[in-house]
């Protein structure tokens, strides 16, 4: 009996690439340098599982904790509580070896490509360095992998780019070098934090499509973090909506568009225009107020001060549970507690 249970746990773990449980990242706030005055709860209880080869999008407004989520997953910020498991290994207090093992399997695509690339290194050196650090000793092998990565990202002819420095490239090309660097070690997971928000509209789509192709071809798991909901559909099937340091709704993109459950998601979707001349004729409905302070978040549901469907005595007192509505649609809202599947 016990053995069986063990096996099933093992199996489950094999099926999950990244598992995040009740992750909290708080930043200490000090006054005069040493008096502790409180915590900014940037990430406050986030849990999800990611399968190998799965693409998810995390959307939310600035200050909702989406970048902190990325950084905590990447091990750039130590979590205050909760755990991150990658391929079954707990990354709680990583040793050097564990971090090295982990970082060879996870790629990071930053928001600002120019800031992410060292200005004094040529494209070739930028791409070669991770290979050298991770012990690819054969020069021809390194060369082959650099060529392969640049070709995949359509930076061709490769010879033209190898000896260029970041400032000689356009924004789109820089971002492609960043992606090439993230994938050159053939990672299993790529975390892309707003990879296209600094780029022009006409290039954005191209970069997203390239990322998508890589994801499909190599069965890469990708976490795509963005504030721009309209690009999500072109990238992933599953979406997490964050608000005030929590994931308040997760669903398949099509379900979310057709039937958003959380009042915040509804408001967010209503605020996004498709380009059409008719938009100028009507006003948009927008909930009043602003996102909560993460220093002192409101009691109960964090959206309740702005919510039009707030239930008094409940939403403003007790945090809502995560309600599973079936079909991978999970919402953190009191309105749906009777629909639990």
């Amino acid at each position: 009996m016990q053995n069986e249970a063990m096996v099933s746990v093992e199996e489950q773990q094999n099926d999950v690439l990244l598992s995040v449980k009740d992750l909290r990242t708080w930043f200490e706030l000090r006054r005069y340098g040493f008096v502790r005055v409180g915590h900014v709860r940037a990430l406050d209880g986030v849990s999800f599982d990611l399968k190998p080869g799965e693409a998810v999008a995390v959307v939310g407004e600035s200050g909702c904790g989406k970048s902190t989520l990325a950084k905590t997953i990447l091990g750039l910020e130590p979590p205050t509580a909760g755990e991150v498991r990658f391929d079954g290994r707990n990354l709680g207090k990583p040793t050097r070896e564990l971090l090295r093992w982990y970082r060879a399997r996870v790629g990071y695509v930053q928001q600002d490509p120019y800031g992410a690339l060292p200005p004094f290194m040529s494209v070739k050196r930028i791409l070669e360095e991770p290979l050298i650090i991770n012990g690819v000793k054969d020069r021809h092998e390194r060369q082959r992998r650099i060529y392969e990565a640049l070709t995949q990202l359509k930076l061709t002819p490769v010879e033209d780019f190898l000896n260029k420095y970041p400032h000689m490239l356009s924004g789109g090309q820089q971002q492609r070098v960043v992606i090439a660097r993230a994938k050159i070690l053939e990672p299993k997971l790529i975390v892309a934090d707003e990879p296209v928000s600094m780029l022009d509209a006409s290039v954005r789509v191209e970069i997203l499509q390239l990322l998508r192709e890589l994801q499909r071809e190599y069965e890469l798991a990708v976490i795509y973090i963005t504030h721009d909901l309209s690009t999500v559909r072109y990238f992933s099937e599953r979406i997490f909506v964050m608000y005030g340091g929590k994931i308040i709704e997760q669903a398949q993109m099509e379900d979310l568009l057709a039937d958003p459950k959380h009042p915040y998601t509804e408001a967010l979707l209503r605020a996004i225009p498709d380009p059409h001349p008719k938009n100028a004729e009507t006003m948009r409905e927008v909930p009043p107020g602003e996102p909560p302070s993460l220093l002192n978040p409101p009691l109960g549901c964090r959206f309740h001060p702005r919510c039009s469907k707030m239930i008094e005595g409940l939403c403003d007192q007790t945090e809502p549970p995560e309600v599973d509505l079936g079909d991978q649609h999970i919402v953190g809202c009191w309105l749906y507690t009777d629909q639990q599947s």
Binding site: E61, L268, A271, I272, P273
Partner: protein, 324 residues
Amino acid sequence: MRKTSSDSALLRIEGLRLHFKTMRGTVQAVDDVTFSLNRGRTLVVVGESGCGKSSLARGILRLLPRNVETYSGKIYLNGDELMCLTDERFRREVRWVRMSMVPQAAMNSLNPVVRVEDQVAEPLLVHKCVTTREEAYERAREAFRMVGVPLDFMTRYPFELSGGMRQRVALAMALVTDPELVVLDEPTSALDLLTQANIMNVLKQIKKDIGVTFILITHDIATSSELADDAAVMYAGQLVEFCDAGRFYLDPLHPYSRGLMGSVPTLWERKDLMFIPGQPPSLLDPPKGCRFAERCPDRFDKCEEEPPLTEVDVGHWVKCWLHR
């Protein structure tokens, strides 16, 4: 001060050029731009970064950096030619009195050590639009009401306000002198989605209430449709298409405008996204013929010559050999 003229065009620009001197040569940021805008309408200027749309705004308001090489053409505001005014007269009689601007990242351009009410009242006092301080603050209060900032925020400092509120204060500063034309340079691009929608609502309401003419400069095509009556598309320093919003969002003619519209991701409508391969030409040495030819899917021999901006339909101007 204000003249009424039989010409319904509030702003008319003819052959505006703005070239900058740099170490590497002349940058032709705005090159031969011509259009006219009627009173009470909102013109949206779209284009990729570096296409000269912000320089166009600066050229209209004559807020020029020091390295200007060429600044020529004609700008008529309500029939008055502005280019012949001296800088001093332009500053005293036109800028912020008859036209004003909300600069890019305006919310960070407020003075951090001055209360917001003083900042909003300042243009009135500087330009002597009012006689007493009380009157100036009364007008400032009106402007705050218009942009939806609670009046008890007036005595606060900018850091005590959120980004959206600061943006509204910048807008109040531009509106307080009751100008005929307000140029908005990327007014919402640094803001969150919901705040962005809020500011757009405020702008719509103002447009309806006081009929001010806006020029909205942006790269965000989806959001721009919230306010647009007319649209102008810029590419590599030139105006390549000018038409009303209906035609621009539904059926633009210039291959660049079509590519741009095709690359806008849409949330509700399902479509296959396109992108424009390549990148815009350097403005240091732009190509001789059509500047878009290199990236254009429909180019042909003729494109080696520069196409003129032609009126293909009433009020629809296109700079392309395909549409003559």
